[in-house]
Symmetry: C2
Subunit: 151 residues, 2 copies
DNA sequence: TATTGTTATACTCTATAACTATA
DNA sequence: TATAGTTATAGAGTATAACAATA
């Protein structure tokens, strides 16, 4: 009986045996469909992630958001600027620390988050339509067990 | 009892409920460690993928390799050039079709493939060290079930 | 007409180093 | 001296459109 684990003779060669490869392809497929699902909103994977983190951590600063999401400080700047210019985030100098910015989601930001979530749930349902609910839960659990994946 | 599926109160917000997010983070973590594992060889994820596909499909052309790996023709050009210039691939005009190139792995290419594979197996073992053998197989199976992930 | 490879181009994501202003 | 944010920059991955040679 042939299983996925001894698929050495496939068109991919030994590549087909590697978890990392399938992870990369699956992630890329998700990214493409995510973009399709959110087309017209101006939102992307990273922006949605930031908006989500700020929403549950009102008053959080850029660096902390980046830490949660694995985004470097330097790269946060332009992303936060985008969200502020889109009117989805509000940025004011932090009360306690005048170096830092306090970030909160605007009403438009909360509405955008809700709208995106509806679309994203449909997108995930579609991408995972070949998996049973149990399998989806299991996949999530296994993914969170991967080394180096802190958050 | 709290499970990964109802992690709405986490620091990530609703993001933590999304399979796509965990897929993206896990894939990124794999990519970073893959690069570390292959440091000094000059190889990257994409180049290794191409070398692997050509190795099991001697005489294949660029377009077909791209189709297997989900890489567009236009982007294949520079990648194949790299591998040829590294001496890992041989490229000659195809016998049957003078538009196409016939690709084969050189001896150096085969050696590189073998060397990379040793390193990659160690890298995968490390990244998946919190998963049992059964879980690793299951993860692979679940990943290949994801919609849109053709190869 | 369709296909293979090619060039040009642009956008996103990510990474590093150096700077400023505060702490 | 350490930290928050910033700027500049560079590399890698990916996307589209248009072209030449060949089928």
């Amino acid at each position: 009986m042939a299983t996925a684990a001894d698929d050495t003779g496939g068109e991919l060669g030994l590549l087909g045996e590697l978890v990392g490869y399938h992870l990369r392809r699956a992630s890329a497929a998700f990214a493409v469909d995510f973009a399709r699902a959110l087309a017209g909103t101006g939102m992307r994977q990273v922006l949605f992630g930031i908006l989500s983190v700020v929403s549950v951590n009102p008053g959080i600063n850029q660096g902390a958001v980046g830490t949660h999401l694995g985004i470097q400080r330097a790269n946060m700047v332009a992303l936060i600027n985008e969200l502020v210019e889109m009117g989805l985030l509000e940025r004011k100098t932090s009360d306690g620390d005048r170096r830092a910015f306090s970030l909160t989601a605007s009403r438009a930001g909360s509405a955008m988050l809700a709208e995106c979530l509806v679309r994203i749930r449909a997108h995930e349902a579609e991408m995972l339509s070949d998996l049973t609910p149990t399998e989806r839960t299991r996949l999530m659990e296994l993914l969170t067990k991967i080394r180096g994946k802190v958050a």
